[in-house]
Symmetry: D2
Subunit: 415 residues, 4 copies
């Protein structure tokens, strides 16, 4: 047992930290201003594109991808502290070409894509030339229940004809987004885990309609959480990923790493909030003493430090277990960190916000954006409550107990 | 001891409820669309102005104002359940001419205004013809600490010349807003509670500059939380409210009712979220059963019902004590409900949000807006932590303990 | 709506408070010493018997009993603040002849007893000459589920022959205890709510065996939570309370008041802990300042004050609703206060304990005993979780939802 | 980074687990019965002495002692999982000669003892022939504040004459206890961290009076938390441990390992409670389904699993840091796990208790004893609140903040 990162990882951590200090934190405000100046809420800020080659030149590129052929060849445990550091700023991951949902999409293209699919979509994604969306969640059905999926892809000759409505197809409003990976029902009569397939749908397909960016926490700008209508959307049959019916299996494959990446970033986000809280506590004087001298603020700082550190060890252990054993062996750990990290993150940000007074509500500090990320994580990739139920089920199974309720397998959820 | 409202109040409750059911809930979406259609994020939706005469015609007007000469003549206990019902929708209070900060501004104009001031500002406010802002919070100073105030009004001849910067001057972007009540330092050398005065500043004064609507929780539209610069802003000396140096005393006078009005609305907001949660729980089927049949959702529903009801009795008791004894006698109760109601509100909304899945984050349901209101209430009128400290101090005083730290008197805070 | 007790109640409150100050708090230690000196852990301390006539002489006797023929004729709302004050000391209720389970037993004897039963058992109970136990809970069955009850009473001629095992027959080790009211199955084939009856069993019946005082929180002394074996225990058929099969109905009748009496006392117990916490906070100096000057202690004091006051209004409202409408109408309120009061009580005591340092764990202060009472209240009369489920069910019913799970009716539980 | 124990440790874990399964759990009830049968609440159960040679024969002896000369030579990280497993039963540590306060006493004797002191006291302790107590906490002074200590040892010739009162001198009522290590003021005028010394006081010294076993959570039996009066207690000057004035330094030395041993055991205690909760949940049927099928119970199981695992990684990391760097470097980690483990432990036990119904309060299950241990850990070795304050101070120091309040150094506290 050893709690220290390897020298290789420590060096990468230092590099990413240095890059963050040098470029990213300043870029946050620049990016905001570029969007504001553009007059387009979906404007992609130029600063991001300026920084990407800088990151790539340093080798800080596709760090998330364990496959050496395509990415940095780091395992989950090695990537974890880097994702954490990137998670300190909501704009960082894209600069390092490590942002969701592209990461998951690249992973499954690398694993399940045909050479033609890889050529057309994976390569430009790896190069950071285009971006992609994952189109799974539907307005009317529970994400955690695979049997509910309704969007239908009917095979007609050499094509699939897709009809249905999705939302939270995040990233679809990104100005560089070119491709959607849509989760659709290809065989409604198949057994429940073989009903669906994942199909590549170019965004410029005339059957794809971006209805609206769903307003999430007052925000309908940026990359957007698109509501998408597929209206007799025809794509070649060769656009299916893997085989017909593989949809849930592929979802599973992307879920493990996807969830834990969010958790790593959540740790980083919480550290950022913690940092802001400590600075504020030290600088703000009320009634003659600094906030840092007040017992309740000290209590928040101590609680936050303890909660962050606890969550981090859980994430690192889950990552290690995925690497050493398998994603499947680490399912319990992944479920646990998903819940733990999201809730810890929200609590820490809330305390940081309260420490800032009314300023904490404004976009003069990044706290609310961190909050929004934290809050969605309690739902994304399966709500906390479903994960908790599954965690309990796995524990009780050790005692020979099989629950009598139909229980979710957490097969699939939005990343 | 009797826990039942009078028949008069019950009738008013039925009337307001009926008005809400008939007009307000539908108007929420209409108002949103009118703003969207206008292309102006500060657009004042026409539907509000259409509904105001309807409410007034039914006598549901200025219910908050205990002074019979100007308002409905209800005491705090009588007004509480009505404010609660209005609090179920964030657009309702304005329709009934009961929305902050006008309510507080009308109260202090009625109590401290000269006949000329009343004629010019109180009358149109009472008629719902104009709106007003309260300009107290400053970016650099703690709202709960009266000695920190920096915006300066210098007496020059028959005028005051005001210089300084405020923010969270809420409502200043309302298209009907005509008047700011500014809290400013008139005598920096006076003892700490006589340093400031409240001065009426017409919004069209050339020395008043609305710098920006501060982005609060991603939102810089609507009535706006204005950042305001007073730049050699000259107003007649007769615009002072009460006497020079009365600023804190007048703040105190408005604070008691102001705080408790927020609490009443918070109860209503929580009831709205509770209602949405129960409906969703009943209608949403996952894994074969309704959410309502799942133990954790039932737990949330029970916890929420218990927390709401507890907060309500505290609010009603505080209102009763203000009426029966005095605002001053009820200070401890007001401090307590301020903290209790805001936190309860936030917790209930959070549970309702989680019950809604990703839908709960969107503006397809009013949950996030309720959350935003709840979250600000933990800071508005003094942060929870300061109130808690003051509550403890008052309890400990019964044991003869005087704290050795300089402690806030909670004299003034943004309403 | 009026939040003030009547003058009559205020006078009684003053009287009980005065009695507490004058006799009860001192008697706590005296009682402890008398038990210790006696060498018998079940010894009934003489001081209790000395104080009973004093209380009775002042009319502070049987205050719990609303029936004027037998008791003080106070309704629940009037009794509530008196029970609260008594609840400040764990020895007080008995001095005023207001202690469980005698209170519930007297109520049902008064309501359902025959003249002979009343003569034999109710009269000496009313006079405080004897004490009684309620023998319902069984080791192997869930108290909240009436179908599980196993102790059997078979009718043989003019007698019932009782066989079975009970535990938590509290009070059975009291040296004055003469009578058990046993809940037993008289007709196993009847529909589920008519299976059981309540039968009066004299403690000196040779078929009654006190197996052991169950060790509860390290304590097997005092009145004891008896484990009782009924071994061919024969009692006259006339000892049945009400009619055969009325067992659950009678349990229901005693439960409403029984539960709320516990809640009232819980408020008082919490106030006692709060009082000890404030005194300690003021007197204990560490690192140069009093605990009362430390932010986290102030936070606890404020939280405790707010939680106690919230719980109290809920209890008073529930009591009022029982009086004004009916026990049945107030079921939701009673379920809620049961959960609220017990949990609040435990939290407040825990904070008070922590404020006392290691002293808080010892019997030099009454904190641990209060804790033990609070902790049992989370289970007694139905565990919190069952009450919460029932509360949710009643709320959801307003939305037309009927849960699909077999749910408890909370018919009966140990008081 | 590696999250797996070495094979050596895994083998030891298997051995200890096997010993627990084979002997310890059964011995719990046997020990209880032996005490009961003896009629002496301080009776030392024979079963313990029977099992000690068995454990020693297997090499499961003095595992806590890193010094190879005296103990097993395991470092903290290696010992942690073993202490955890022992922590599952409150009687286990003594069987393995790993129980507090002997562990700490042996450590400091090994480190600071003279050859004569070692011969006389360390050897029999290492052999498990005698037991010892640590006599530091005083009734009137805060354990976390070294300046408050009052018990006085005056040097008179070749002797110290000790006068003062201690309590919570745990273990002093153990029938094998022969020696107290007393923390006493040898120079009241020295600077605050040089005022005290640790002096070896044989229990049979005529100046030592065991006043009473302090009743802690209703329990004044077992090893007892002794109140001790030193009344002109004369001991040779050579009984001082280390040098005069070293008292605090030695306390510090024992504190790091002492605290973390408690934390390790707390993890094990929580696992035991978790295990009992799961078994009960599976076996107890209410209203037609097992408790394990109820959402709220599943929630508790999931929460508990997540809290236990989080605490464990923190403990293991802290142990690793102590080993790899130093006790001093690991101070922040030790403070954190002290708070985390104790609170987690208490919460998990409380849930397990509630899952058991009234049974959970009784000594038919070990839950209440685990609770009592957990509850004292929130106070032992410094209250949570002091540790939290210190944790915050260390975090804030990274931002250049020095708190203005006199703050504890956590130098010393009862182990």
């Amino acid at each position: 047992m050893d709690f220290e990162h390897s020298d290789k990882v420590k060096n990468l951590m230092a590099q990413v930290t240095d890059f963050m200090d040098r470029y990213i934190y300043d870029a946050e405000r620049i990016a905001d201003e570029q969007v504001k100046t553009s007059g387009n809420k979906h404007h992609h800020p130029e600063i991001i594109e300026e920084l990407k080659p800088k990151a790539r030149a340093q080798g800080l590129w596709n760090l998330f991808l364990p496959d050496k052929e395509y990415g940095a060849g780091l395992n989950n445990l090695e990537y974890a502290p880097l994702a954490e550091i990137m998670g300190r700023s909501l704009i960082a991951s894209e600069v390092f070409n490590c942002s969701a949902p592209d990461t998951g999409n690249m992973e499954i293209l690398a694993e399940f894509g045909t050479p033609a699919q890889k050529k057309k979509w994976l390569e430009p994604l790896l190069n950071g030339e285009i971006r992609s969306a994952f189109s799974m969640t539907e307005p009317g059905t529970a994400g955690s229940d695979p049997t509910g999926l309704q969007t239908r892809a009917e095979r007609k000759g050499d094509e699939y004809v897709i009809n249905g409505r999705k939302w939270f197809s995040s990233n679809a409003y990104h100005q560089h987004c070119k491709i959607l990976i849509a989760m659709v029902v290809t065989d409604p009569n198949a057994e429940r885990h073989r009903r669906a397939s994942q199909i590549l749908v170019p965004l410029d397909n005339p059957g794809v309609k971006l209805v609206r960016p769903v307003m999430v926490f007052n925000d309908d700008g940026g990359h957007g959480h698109a509501e998408v209508v597929y209206d007799n959307c025809r794509v070649p049959a060769s656009n299916v990923l893997g085989k017909e019916g593989d949809g849930f299996m592929i979802s599973q494959a992307r879920l493990g790493p996807g969830r834990i990446h969010h958790c790593m970033r959540a740790i980083g986000g919480a550290e950022r909030a913690f940092d802001l809280m400590c600075r504020r506590a030290q600088n703000r004087i009320t009634h003659g003493t600094a906030l840092a001298d007040k017992g309740i603020i000290q209590h928040w700082i101590a609680e936050s430090r303890m909660e962050i550190d606890q969550a981090r060890w859980m994430v690192l252990h889950a990552a290690w277990k995925m690497d050493k054993y398998s994603k499947k062996e680490a399912r319990q750990e992944i479920s646990m960190v998903k819940t733990i990290a999201a809730n810890m993150f929200q609590r820490v940000v809330d305390r940081a916000m309260q420490t800032h007074g009314a300023l904490g509500f404004t976009d003069d500090v990044p706290l609310f954006r961190l909050w929004a990320y934290a809050r969605t994580l309690r739902m994304a990739d399966g709500p906390d409550e479903v994960h908790n139920m599954v965690v309990a089920r796995r524990e009780l199974r050790k005692y020979g107990h099989e629950m009598n309720a139909a229980l979710p397998k957490m097969e699939a959820a939005r990343r």
